[in-house]
């Protein structure tokens, strides 16, 4: 019988075996590192130029198409309810009535992504996103909605590779370069609203999620944009909790699943690993979520 300590000792002992001589030279590594820094700076400069141009266009577009919208940060104690046949939801779904939280640890480096807040909620020992196969109708509606919004989408399916594998049943789409949109199905027990409440801080969000409830009790929970490490990247997710106990997580990333080790991508796309922003706006993500929620 081997307990934790014995396992730890045995593993470490095996890793102390004589290793082949390292072929990595410091000079080569420094050269590659400098190339990467240069590429990152070039991308940053381009990003600034694009942002300036975007602000200019945005200002013109806003002044031309000004319309009355509810405040984005409206806090409401009662989620909005619309019939299941609603065509499109605004990303101005109200946030749940919770104060904005602060991380228990802070770093002084402004360029380091913020530390997540405390993670609470029941661990998803079963029914985690990706543990179930998404019904054909759900997948089809996700593809339809995505194609309508993102245009050139290439759809892929990650098949389950072994029981319990986290990435089982992941459907993802590469869109216009290095952005991707994922669909993962899971399950839960109990009331959709109670489950949404339980999971509201499960990923360490600091900003309360937005929430929208359909007439049949389906809850759509839209989490705030998140920065991740080690390679700085952006992602945002929306989770649908259906009355039949199924959940659907739709997440948006600013990179494709292929970016991390592709040298041709790394060297030219810099620190974000892909696009400087998410491929979909929050409103578009909400629209896809609503289309999927209504297709069940």
């Amino acid at each position: 019988m081997m307990n934790d300590d014995e396992l730890r000792r045995a593993l470490r002992a095996e890793l102390e075996v004589p290793a082949p001589a390292a072929r990595t030279s410091l000079d080569d590594l420094l050269r590659r590192g400098r190339r990467r820094v240069f590429a990152q700076r070039a991308v940053a400069v381009m990003g600034v130029l694009i942002a300036v141009a975007g602000i200019g266009f945005g200002g013109v577009a806003l002044s031309a198409a000004r319309r009355t919208l509810p405040p984005a940060d409206t806090v409401s104690t009662t989620p909005t309810t619309t019939p299941a046949t609603a065509v499109r939801a605004e990303a101005s779904w109200p946030r749940i009535s919770e104060p904005i939280r602060t991380p228990t640890i802070t770093l002084n480096h402004p360029d380091v992504p913020p530390i997540p807040c405390q993670q609470t909620g029941s661990p998803l020992l079963t029914g985690w996103p990706g543990s179930s196969k998404a019904p054909d109708a759900v997948r089809a509606s996700w593809e339809r909605a995505l194609t309508g919004l993102a245009g050139k989408a290439q759809f892929h399916v990650t098949q389950p590779r072994s029981p319990g594998e986290r990435e089982a049943y992941s459907y993802w789409a590469d869109v216009t370069g290095f952005g991707s949109i994922w669909l993962r199905a899971g399950s839960f027990t109990g009331d959709p609203l109670a489950q949404a409440d339980d999971q509201k801080w499960a990923q360490g969000d600091c900003v309360p999620p937005r929430r929208h409830v359909l007439a049949d009790g389906t809850v759509l929970q839209l989490h705030a944009l998140k920065e991740a490490m080690p390679v700085p990247s952006l992602s945002q997710r929306l989770v649908i909790y259906a009355p039949n106990g199924m959940s659907y997580e739709i997440s948006v990333s600013n990179h494709s699943a292929e970016y991390l080790l592709g040298p041709e991508i790394n060297e030219t796309n810099g620190p974000s690993g892909g696009r400087p922003e998410l491929p979909l706006t929050e409103e578009q993500l909400a629209g896809i979520g609503l289309a999927v929620a209504e297709s069940r």
Binding site: M1, M2, N3, D4, L7, R8, A10, L11, R12, E14, L15, V17, P18, A19, P20, A21, A22, R23, T24, L26, D28, L29, L30, R32, G33, R34, R36, V37, Q40, L107, H109, D111, V112, P116, Q119, G121, S122, P123, L124, L125, W128, R161, S162, G164, E165, R166, E167, A202, Q203, A228, M229, P230, V231, A257, E258, L260, L261, P263, P271
Partner: protein, 164 residues
């Protein structure tokens, strides 16, 4: 250049450990060297923003994420080193050749669960630290640990006690 001097010192003192950690994850010295190389390139690029006290944790995170990404892509990339890696130095297995290898058995464990086991049992991280490294919840780490140990137990042969 101060950046290069500091990084050179960090590289010299940590590269072998990073390569061994990557070897625990992938079970192949060639792949391990590639993962360690790429990890150090990324650390170099962010060196001014990596605090001295957090550099080890950052390097560990990058190594783990790079390993997971290679497995997620489902294919191995050609080595980018100038020369092919040397064959491993033949170790003295005379006393241990009949003994099952834990590192070899570890390769039977699914990648993400394997990463959890290596972080917890090789790097000796807590559940919370492992969760932060993998950007998941503590509950996920516990469940992945339990599943990983179960698979490792089946692959290794000798019974390992339950742990989570």
């Amino acid at each position: 250049m101060r950046r290069d001097e500091e990084f050179s010192e960090f590289f010299t003192s940590r590269f072998d450990a990073a390569r061994r950690a990557a070897y625990a994850l992938c079970g192949n010295w060639g792949d391990a060297e590639e993962i360690a190389q790429n990890a150090f390139v990324r650390v170099y690029a962010r060196w001014p923003k990596v605090r001295v006290e957090s550099a080890d944790a950052y390097l560990r995170t990058v190594v783990t994420r790079l390993f997971l990404d290679t497995r997620r892509r489902g294919r191995r990339r050609d080595l980018s080193v100038a020369d092919p890696p040397e064959r491993p130095v033949p170790a003295d297995h005379s006393a241990a050749e009949d003994r099952p290898s834990l590192v070899r058995a570890l390769q039977q464990v699914p990648p993400r669960q394997r990463a959890v086991l290596v972080l917890r049992f090789v790097h000796d991280l807590s559940v919370e630290q492992t969760a932060a490294t993998l950007n998941c919840t503590a509950g996920t780490v516990k469940s992945q640990t339990a599943r990983g140990l179960q698979t490792l137990r089946e692959a290794y042969g000798p019974a390992l006690t339950e742990s989570a």
